[in-house]
Symmetry: C2
Subunit: 341 residues, 2 copies
């Protein structure tokens, strides 16, 4: 590694002790003004920078926090990371990023890795396979605070950052209902995820409120990726059980459905209207433009990071809190009722 200038180098150059140098650079009052000036000049001359590793050892703080995200492919998590990064840079913390690849096993490995690297806290969005509840609890119990975001644990007590999935799903469904659609289906996400449950509940409650029929067939589990939305839609087309509108778990499944619709020679929104969720860039690029719920991704990262820093820096640590961020429904062409009025 590159050789850096140290306190000792400055001390030797000026024939004084490292203690004085340290004090001079910290601008302490019990150092002679002359000496202070000499030290500061010499430090500048040698381009001295305090060694962050030595400081960490001394302070017994790693000044590092860990992050576990399920994947990197979609732009959702990268945007969250950008938000986290901003807060970390401001507060002088380093960020250790790991990817669980939607696997509980890999997630466990990542958490162990972070623990071995002495992170002072962990930000995590869990896999869609499920949660490593015991491990989360262990980490918290032995003093490493966890903050969940987006995909949160339902069992562990910790600070969490979510968007109001239930409400947004409810409103998105109501939007379809107010548009005049009656036969409305839902493509739901992995049953194990809280967000899936919340969005499904929002859908069901909105339907119930408006006295619209909901049968076993109204909800299809379609996973998180495009191919699943595609095959779910194909299934409906094959069975000739085509709804007027579908509220989809997320944008990829909506886009998969859209592809199946087009391939079958049907039209969106004329034959089937679509609503996505968790706004992706693509929503504004496909034809027709996709109605979708926009999540404040960057802000989610910032918020989660701030909550974690609070847990780390305050003694005693503050009460855990769950922050619910506001999301916004962007209504576009894919959910316009072309038959009405």
């Amino acid at each position: 590694m590159k050789r850096y200038s140290t306190l000792k180098d400055i001390a030797n150059a000026l024939n004084i002790s490292t203690a004085t140098v340290s004090r001079a650079l910290a601008d302490r009052c019990d150092v002679n003004q002359e000496t202070k000036k000499l030290v500061q000049e010499e430090a500048k001359r040698q381009n001295y920078k305090p060694n962050p590793i030595a400081l960490r050892l001394q302070n017994k703080r790693s000044k590092t926090i860990g992050l576990v995200v399920p994947e990197f492919k979609s732009s959702f998590f990268p945007m969250v990371i950008a938000g986290i990064q901003k807060v970390m840079d401001e507060s002088g913390f380093q960020l250790l990023i790991t990817e669980s690849q939607e696997s509980m096993e890999v997630e466990r490995r990542n958490l162990k890795l972070l623990e071995n690297n002495m992170v002072e806290g962990i930000l995590i969005s869990i896999t869609r396979e499920g949660e490593n509840t015991n491990l989360y609890q262990e980490l918290i119990d032995c003093g490493i605070p966890l903050v969940f975001f987006n995909r949160v644990s339902s069992k562990v007590i910790a600070s969490k950052v979510v968007i109001d999935d239930y409400k947004r799903a409810f409103f998105a469904t109501e939007h379809l209902i107010y548009s005049g659609f009656k036969k409305i289906y839902h493509f739901s996400g992995p049953e194990i995820l809280m967000v899936s449950k919340e969005r499904k509940k929002g859908f069901l409650d909105a339907m119930k409120k408006h006295h619209l029929e909901v049968t076993d067939k109204s909800v299809l589990t379609a996973g998180v990726f495009m191919d699943k939305g595609f095959s779910a839609m194909q299934l409906l087309i094959d069975k000739n059980d085509i709804p007027e509108a579908i509220f989809c778990f997320n944008d990829p499944t909506a886009l998969g459905a859209l592809k199946a619709i087009k391939e079958a020679g049907l039209k969106c929104p004329d034959d089937v209207a679509l609503v996505g969720f968790s706004e992706t860039e693509i929503a504004q690029l496909v034809d027709p433009l996709l109605t979708s719920v926009e999540q404040p991704t960057f802000e989610m990262g910032e918020t989660a990071a701030r909550l974690l820093l609070k847990q780390i820096n305050q003694t005693p640590p503050p009460e855990v809190e769950t922050v619910c961020l506001l999301a916004k429904l962007n209504i576009r062409k894919s959910s316009i009722n072309t038959h009405k009025g």
Copy 2:
């Protein structure tokens, strides 16, 4: 921070010196088998993990490398990061990620931040504003190896990972030519970027090879984002100077052009055929499906990381090398000549 078990704790528990404990755990031959066993048991009992910070101070190595990417929005860089991450995890290095937000000024700040954090090397993809040549050179000169990827410096001598932009642009253009198009235009990227120049050169050379006319009007600078592709296409439509086909700098500009084509009531590929570059997820989702050059993003990250580790670990450092990764042209509907034979 959480309290971790140390060598001293084990030494105290067994009434021996930390030196012996250290040696026992390193499984050195000059330790009594009995002692070794006792130490290993006690270490397990206390869940001892070596303190990585102390090791770094001791070894005078930060075991950290830095990364500077221009942005997080598109999935391109996140996928590269995933590749880098994989190599780093395997080799026990930490990764410090920074985002320059396409600003030279922010890039300078990030590089300084990485230097202060004593990274042992830096991976960088430069901004589209241009390059901080002097700073790159300074870092290299004082012992921090740099490896460029994707958007590389044209002036600094260092290892680089690129895709064969020139060849792919050449072939993509030839694909349009072989499809029977004659009036072919190019929407080029920011003039300052090497990749822009390379792709433009590939386009021009392919046209020249096949003796097709190239005028001042054949190449329009369209930037990197969708809106620029959109306005460039609108300009052509307004001037009623509509080419049969356009080879675009990247997918977003192609999609922008596509939007303008549709809004003008024209059809792709019937009226204007399109070819994009640097495959995005979107290419497979739009109508018509977009022909595009697919880049090996994950592999690019892996390769760049490996090159950097070589620079760091070998003494004397190996010669710098430029690795050119293969990219692949995915031919889809947007570039099919519907008039031909």
